[in-house]
Amino acid sequence: MTGGRPRPPATGRGAPAAAASGGRVPRTGRWLAAPLAFWLAAWFLLPVALLLAESFRPVVIGQPTPPGLTLANYARFLGDPFYRGTLAATLVLGAAVTALALALGYPVAYGLARGRHRGRAVLRLCVVAPLLVSVVIRTYGWIVLLANNGAVNQALLALGLVDQPVKFLFTHTGVLIGLVHFALPVAILSLVGVIEAVDRSLEDAARGLGAGAWRAFWAVTFPLTLPGVAAGGMLIFSLTVAAFVTPALMGGPSLIVLSTLIYQQMTVTLEWGFGAAVATILLVVATGLFLAAQRGLASMRGTGAAA
């Protein structure tokens, strides 16, 4: 949206003079922008700024907040092995989900980007469908599938792969499955763009020079998509570390991540200053990677425009 040019003065006569004489410059722009600017400022920017400020305020339980700024909330987070462990668990889980989603998403994205068959529109819709269903419902679906007497365990038992039901719910494995499902559509959609951006004729040239299909893919196409894969990975990572519903419902108390810790602080223990500090840490990790990913994906598509 940054590509817009200012509207030329509407009056046919004396346009430069009108622009120069200040008072006659149309003020339409600011009136049109006012509701959007107000809404974002009042219901987004100001609250977020106050949340960041809250994280630097000293807290003495049971007393009015003393003046001044402090890093005590952050020091408490970094000084406590339990909280450090939460951060580590979040990052490790994010990395595992990212790697799995990219690995599973790549072949699907390749099929969508390079395939020429008629079912492509339907397949794309299948990829987008999970994104349009509330994450609570998707998670409920996984709980039904992965329960001790759920479809997955029934199938595993019937095939004789296990003797007794595998415990998926309230374990890391269950959360991992749920989060990979959560991240996979995003992985596929960003990788489709990345693979489409690689000139098909390069692969054809490799084939023409005698390379097999596998070799042409691994030697030519795959390396060219790596920067885009990295950008897609950052996007997935940023979304995964911020995910709340899946770890909360499928992990339960067995797995506390940053988002569930924040929820606990804000609604159960009511330590807002500390909760605000954890939220700020999550914000920095997630938003930083999100912005870096946007930049990377935009330049891969060659548009360079704001995504």
């Binding site: 949206m1 940054t2 509207r7 722009g29 600011r30 049109l32 922008a33 509701p35 959007l36 809404w39 987004f44 609250p47 106050l50 949340l51 599973l104 072949p107 699907v108 099929g111 529109a121 397949l123 794309r124 299948c126 990829v127 999970p130 994104l131 349009l132 269903v133 509330s134 994450v135 609570v136 419902i137 998707r138 998670t139 409920y140 679906g141 709980i143 039904v144 599938l145 479809a151 499902h181 996979l184 559509p185 995003v186 959609l189 763009g193 097999g212 299909a213 596998w214 979304l239 519903v245 419902l249 924040i262 804000m266 609604t267 807002w272 939220a279 999550l282 914000l283 997630a286 995504a307």
Partner: protein
């Protein structure tokens, strides 16, 4: 690609598509079961979990609340976002660059952080908990998509058409209303529909702005799942999915929604 490689790719991808759709399909199937407990696959089919929905007034209330909230979010975000997109693409005003840079910020921030920030903000303001709080938050996180979608449509409008209308004597407003707006309409409808769905599905922001009497449907489902995975959750979830699907089908007929969003969807 060789025949074998193509078959292998198709098999792997088939399994991954099944993985993508499984949790959604399983919810739909369970909702038509007959058993009082969660059972998959269901032994017998029935509609009892739909006819019994009336016995769960909290679900019914949440359903109407979410439907109304999503409609209001789509309407407000549609108007505010469209005006903003016109300002950003067609006009020059102080702070235009800043607004253009900040307008996507609600998409970049984790929804959970926005939700907490609003919770803290509203308690500082000491406002009474109300649906207005939810609306304020939902519009803030969905309006960027309207701005982007309308701005993209607007950038594709040929300015000479408007100039022609002006040359034939139309006022700026008439030219905009009769020429530009109809051309921008697909972008506007797609953005508003997307806002509706995001609001209807929203958990992260709603989670912190609910009160015992104002519980949007996704939060109500969340609360139920947290205590037990009963089949009644499946039927209300299926209804929610059905509404989203219906809306998408209409949007697809009217403006070709998938051409705009498939490929560019961000959660």
């Amino acid at each position: 690609m060789s025949r074998r490689a193509r078959l292998l790719l198709a098999a792997v991808n088939g399994a991954i598509y099944a993985f993508l759709l499984a949790p959604i399909l399983v919810v739909v199937v369970v909702s038509f079961g007959d058993s009082a407990f969660l059972q998959f696959p269901p032994r017998r089919l029935s509609l009892r979990w739909y006819t019994d929905l009336g016995e769960y007034p909290d679900f019914v209330q949440s359903f109407w609340l979410s439907l109304g909230l999503a409609a209001a979010t789509a309407a407000v975000a549609g108007v505010v976002g469209t005006l903003g997109a016109f300002a950003l693409v067609r006009h020059r005003f102080p702070g235009r660059r800043l607004l253009g840079a900040l307008v996507m910020a609600p998409v970049a921030l984790p929804g959970l952080v926005t939700g907490i920030a609003l919770l803290q903000f509203f308690s500082l303001l000491r406002t009474e908990p109300s649906i207005a709080r939810l609306l304020a938050g939902h519009v803030a996180v969905t309006v960027p998509y309207v701005v982007r979608s309308v701005a993209a449509a607007l950038a594709g409008v040929d300015r000479t058409l408007e100039d022609a209308a002006r040359g034939l004597g139309a006022s700026p407003w008439t030219a905009t209303r009769l020429v530009t707006l109809p051309l921008v309409k697909p972008g506007l409808v797609a953005g508003a529909v997307f806002s509706f769905i995001l609001s209807f599905d929203n958990v992260a922001v709603s989670l912190f702005l609910t009160t015992p009497r104002l519980v949007p449907l996704p939060i109500q489902i969340y609360n139920y799942v947290e205590s037990s995975a009963r089949p009644i959750i499946a039927s209300i979830s299926t209804l929610q999915v059905a509404i989203v699907v219906m809306l998408l089908a209409i949007a697809e007929r009217v403006v070709g929604f998938s051409r705009r969003y498939v490929g560019g969807v961000e959660p």
